[in-house]
Amino acid sequence: MAWTRKVLRINLTNGSIAEEPLNMDWAMQYLGQRGLGTKYLSEEIDPKCDALGPDNKMIMITGPLTGTMASTGGRYSVVTKSPLTGTIACSNSGGFIGNEIKCAGWDMIIFEGKSPKPVYLYLENDKAQLLPADEMWGKSVWETDEIIHKKHQDPLIRVACVGRSAEEGCLYAAIVNDLHRAAGRSGVGTVMASKNLKAVAVRGTLGVGNIKDPMGFLKATNEGKQVLKDNAVTGEGLPQLGTQVLMNVINEVGAMPTKNMQDVQFEGSSKISGEAMHEPRESDGKANLTTNAGCFACTIACGRISTIDQGHFTVENKPEYWGNSGGLEYEAAWALGSDTMVDDLDALTYANFLCNEDGMDPISFGSTVAAAMELFEMGVITKEQTDGMELKFGSAEALAWCAEVTAKGEGFGKDLGLGSKRLCEKYGHPDLSMTVKGQEFPAYDPRGIQGMGLTYATSNRGACHLRGYTVSSEILGIPEKTDPLSTEGKPELVKAFQDATAAVDSAGICVFTTFAWTLEDIAPQIDAACEGEWTSESLMEMGERIWNMERDFNIAAGITGDMDTLPKRLLKDAAKTGPAKGKVNNLDEMLPKYYEVRGWTQDGVPTDETRARLGL
C-alpha cells in the first residue's frame, strides 16, 4: 500500500497510546522513511536535547512502497537523535518487520518519553498495548524474540528489539529485527533501551491497498523487476556472492582500511572474501555460507546465511552457535577482519553472530576494537584493563573475547562500547580514532577513493557509506566510471549520490536496487502508488531538500562546518602500498566547491536562497 495515513503515537512516560492522521502536506514533500521521519523529528524535538534523555523521540517509519509488490519494498527506518554522534540518526533495515508495521495499518510509530519500567509494544492491527518486559530485560535479541513468540503463541509475529549491549549503554547498539537484520548504525538501539523499550512486536493482517493506480503500479513494478533480473549485478552477482564480493576488489584497488586504517591493503583479504565463504573449510569440509536470503519482496536476495565449524575454538561446546545466522556482509567482514587484521573467517562469523545476538553495529564495533588494538600495541592499554587478554592485531581470540564482553557490557567491554572516539579520548590519543563526527568509518579508505573522503566528511550522520556511495562510480563503474584517485568532479558527484540516496531511502525500497535502477525506474513506481506527481526530477529535488533539512538539524544541534573533516591520519599520512601509494585524501580540494554546489556559505550553512528554493 502507499500511505496508510495513520500515525501511532506512544508516550512511554505515561503509557498513553494515540492514533493521529499522517500530515499529508509533509508526506508530499518528504515521501516517507528517512525524509518524512526526519521532518517529524525536526519539528518535535530540540536538536540540542540529550539523545539518551526523555526529550529525545524515536520514530519507526515505513515508506509508501513498504509492503507493496515493488521489489525490495520491505524497508523501514528508525529516526532519532544519535547518542554516538549528536547528529540526526536514521538507520534503515530490511527483513520483514517494515511490511508488518504497514500491514498493521500504520505509516509510523512515534515513541516519546521514557517508560518507568521495561516494556514492549505489542501491535496487532489497531490493537496496541504496552506490556511488561521484565522477563526479557537482560536477555539477548535471540532470547527476546523467542520469549515473545512463545508468550503470544503466534509464529507470524515480527519482532524488533534491543539486546544486552544496548541495555548496558553501548553507544553503537542496533535495533535488530527478524533475528539478524538491523537498523544498525548511530546507536539507535541505545536510544530505544534508554526509553526502557525492549521490543516492538507486530502482527499485521490488513494487507495491501490504497494504491493510486493499481494497473499502472503492476506494470511499473513488473518492469522494475525485469531490470533487476537482467542486470548482472542484481540478477547474478549479489545473489551469488553478496556484498562480500567487494572484499577482493577493494583490496586490489588499495582502498581496504587495514590495521585501524594504518594501511590500505590486507594480505588476508582473500581468506575472508565472498568467494572464500563458498569454499569448503579445511577443518570440516563444509562451506561457511549456507545460502543466500532475501528480505520482504526482494528479488535480489543478497543476504548471507552462514554457519561456523562446530569444532572452531569460538563455538566449541556452545551448541547455541552451531546453527545459521545472518552474515557476513562486506562491511562487517571488513571491520571485524581487515581492520583488526584477523583473517579467520569463522572467527569473524562468530563475532558477527554476537553482533546479531546482542544488537551491535559490527562496523563501529570492529573499528573500535581496531583502535583498542593499536592502543594496546602502543602500551597505552595493557593487560590490566583487558583482564589478561593480549589485544594484538591479527588475534582471532582477542576479537572473539572483545565481542563477548562488549555484547554483555562486562569489564573492558564497557570501554569498547564507548565507540572509537570516546575510547581514544579516554586513553589520551584522540587522533587514533578513525571517525567523523564520532561515527566509525565503513570499508573504503578515502586515500584510495577520493570522493569517499568528501562523502564521509559531509555525511549527516558521521562517517558512512550509505549516505552517498561514490564507490559505485569511482571503483565499480556504475553508472559510469570515474577516476578514484582524482578529486576532479567529485563535489558534484558526491552531491548527486547524496541527494538520490536520500530519495531512495524515503521510498520504502532498498538502495541496492540502484546498482540497476536509476530514479527513472523508481519514479514510475512511486508515481503509480502515491497521489501527487513523482518524477526523477522531483525525487532529486526532494532528496536535496532532505539533505538540507538534516544539515539544518545538525547545525541546530551544534554540529557545524568545522566538523566536516577527516582524521589526521587520512589527511597527512600517505598510503603505503597499491595504486594510492603516496596519496592522502585531498579533502581541501573538494570541500569549498562542494559547499558552493550545495548552495551553502563557505562555513557550510545553507543560504536563505537555498532554503527558499527547496521549500525549507
Binding site: 556472492l241 556484498t243 562486506y330 566510471k481
Partner: protein
Amino acid sequence: MEITFKLYATLSRYLPPEAKKHAVKITISAEDTAFSLLDKFNVPRESAHLVLLNGIYLDPDERNKPAFKEGDTLAIWPPVAGG
C-alpha cells in the same frame, strides 16, 4: 614475461585447476593484451567489466593494446557491487 592473472566472482570458473586464491602465474608474450588473455582462458570479453592492471582500472579501449611488463597483476571481475 610472467604476470599474475586473477579472475574473481562468477569468472573464477574459467581459472585453470592449478590456480590458488583466484590467481595463477602465467607466461605471456610482449604482444599479449587483456583481451587476448581473456580469450586464452575462454572468458567472454563482455563479461569482463572491471579490469584492473596493478589495481588501476584499464579503460575498455586499452584492453586491446599490449600493456604488460614483468611482474604485473591483471585482475578481472564481472559487474559487481555491494556496500
